[in-house]
Amino acid sequence: VSQALLFVALHLVGVAFALAFGPRQRPALCCALGFGAGLAIGVVVALILEIAQVFGAGAWIAALAPIAGVFAVIAARRGVPARTALVVAAWTGGFALAAILLSAHNVVIASYDSHRLVLISRVIVDDGGMTELSLPRLHAWGVFQVVAQTLSVATKQDFLYGLPVVSGVAFAPVFALTLWAALGALAPRPRAAAVALATLALFSIPMVGYHVVYLHTNFASAIYLFTFVALWWLAETEGEPSYLPVAFVAMTAFALQRTENPLVAIVFLALTIAQSELPRRAITPWLAGFVIVVGGWYEVLAENVAADGDFLSPARCRTIWGLLVATLGWWLVSTHILVRRLNRWLPHALVGATVLGLAAAFASKPGHMGSTVIALLQNVHDEVPYWGFTWHALALLAALALVFPAPPRRAPFVIGVPVFLGLAVLMAYSGPGYRVGTGDSGNRMIINAVPLAVWYLALKAAGSRRPRSPGPASGTS
């Protein structure tokens, strides 16, 4: 029960944030986004306390409570209609019940990596923060799950075994409600059956089920990346910037999940924000906050990791935050006509750079890269049966969906997903390469693409009234 109480508290923090700054015109979506947003905010607060070495249950609650209070006051001042209050109350009751049930038994899968994440979190809790003992050991994984596990200090548990399960289950309504909203933006009468079918398809994939109970970083990455992209799409399509604050909270959580994620985040920012038609003032402060939090963390890491680290070294950490700062700088000068013209070419440039990178990698290490790709293909082609025919089905659906007109703002899906998969292959260049196995790094990483692909294909097929007629596609980006 103590875990469930923590999860409900985080859910309420997130709901308050979403109602204060987010899409308050959609109270159910605010509630669905609540847990993910609240967890991200709680983790960032804990991370700051842990870096300052003043972390503990009392300190964390004392720091988070006033922040949540401010969210609640702002939400109240903007007005909370009776219907919204009713939705929040009902949703929170349902979430609490689900959290209690899902935390009642430990069904979590723990691999070597999971153990390390939990172990380092215990070290941080016992030390009252991150010290020279624990910081260097964070070079191989992102910090998010470690810090999330330190929140167990506010419970009676040694670790939050309910966290992956609650996060995974809480993602289902986010997927369904964003798809419902997106279909509603394209057609007057969104199709509930299409939403239900797409959601069922996604969550029936055994690999997704596996990740829902697997204590690791990958599915959380997929959840937060999806949340960012879907909310950005809704913001642009509806011309409604209120989706962006939660989107950037999600992007911050995504970038802290894994060491390669900041680079993936930059790719998706180039495909979304750089192409935005929304007011710049609605983007700049949240983008700056994202860069400060993620960049700041990587500078802390740069000062503590070993120079010859296998994954992150000080030079690599500083390269990452340098790229993040450059992204912000690029955005700030994007008012210039020349930069705006260049921004239109960014998606093409990303594709070109990825293709060139792959070509160079295969040219310099043909055997290594070849075996990596073969292992990856074996993993998705039934060698490791957790995927089933997922990738085959996605390819077939993508081919069939070509007859439908493309929805607007498709770049993060039709370019972002392939570029991400290309990057996933490229990331094996310097390491031992991918292998055949459920727990293989590449096999886990590619789950990022799946919710985005299913959502987009559902949007494309169900969002159009009829197959497209001959002529130019209606897609705009």
């Binding site: 430990n106 153990h115 030390d127 003992l133 957790y386 089905a393």
Partner: protein, 170 residues
């Protein structure tokens, strides 16, 4: 065309259901094992020292030595099985050469280690400094050293192969 797409998705969902049944039939090493029987099999099947070391690692790393509370936590349903795997080892603590034999560990549940440690630490269990903690498998094939513990009360212990420890030993 939408009906065709819906039919493909329905088939995909049906195949996912079939895949779930296939996953359950995989050998234990290739899938996620949840039942105690499976977990025992899993623990026994991994005779590789690294995997066994991780089982020990999980237990010892999270403990600070000395610390006031050393318990076998009840939160993992599979914990007993982890512990069973660990219990096949001898644990030797230097410099006092305190020995926790496998048979002394096996069968004891939560609190057993705590009492052992408290007893040998004069009933307090909080001020003791441990320089090295040797972990030797019962078959004598592999020896590991928990290093980095000791003088700093807050220093965590890390498990590494004995030969590797010899290389970094001050």
């Amino acid at each position: 065309m939408k009906k065709v797409l819906a039919a493909v998705v329905a088939l995909w969902i049906a195949h996912n259901a079939y895949t779930w049944t296939r996953v359950q039939q995989l050998p234990c090493e290739q899938r996620v094992c949840r039942s105690p029987r499976d977990l025992e099999h899993w623990a026994r099947s991994f005779r590789h020292p690294r995997i066994s070391a991780q089982l020990a690692h999980f237990y010892f790393f999270r403990q600070y030595i000395p610390r006031t509370r050393i318990t076998i936590p009840p939160w993992m349903s599979n914990w007993q099985w982890y512990f069973k795997a660990v219990s096949r080892m001898e644990v030797v603590v230097a410099p006092d050469k305190m020995l926790v034999r496998a048979d002394a560990v096996e069968g004891l549940k939560s609190g057993a280690i705590k009492r052992t440690w408290l007893r040998r630490n004069g009933g307090q269990g909080t001020r003791r400094i441990v320089q090295e903690l040797y972990v030797r498998f019962a078959d004598g094939a592999t020896e590991y050293v928990l290093a980095e513990g000791g003088t700093d009360r807050r220093a965590p212990l890390f498990l590494m192969p004995a030969d590797a420890y010899e290389e970094v030993k001050p």
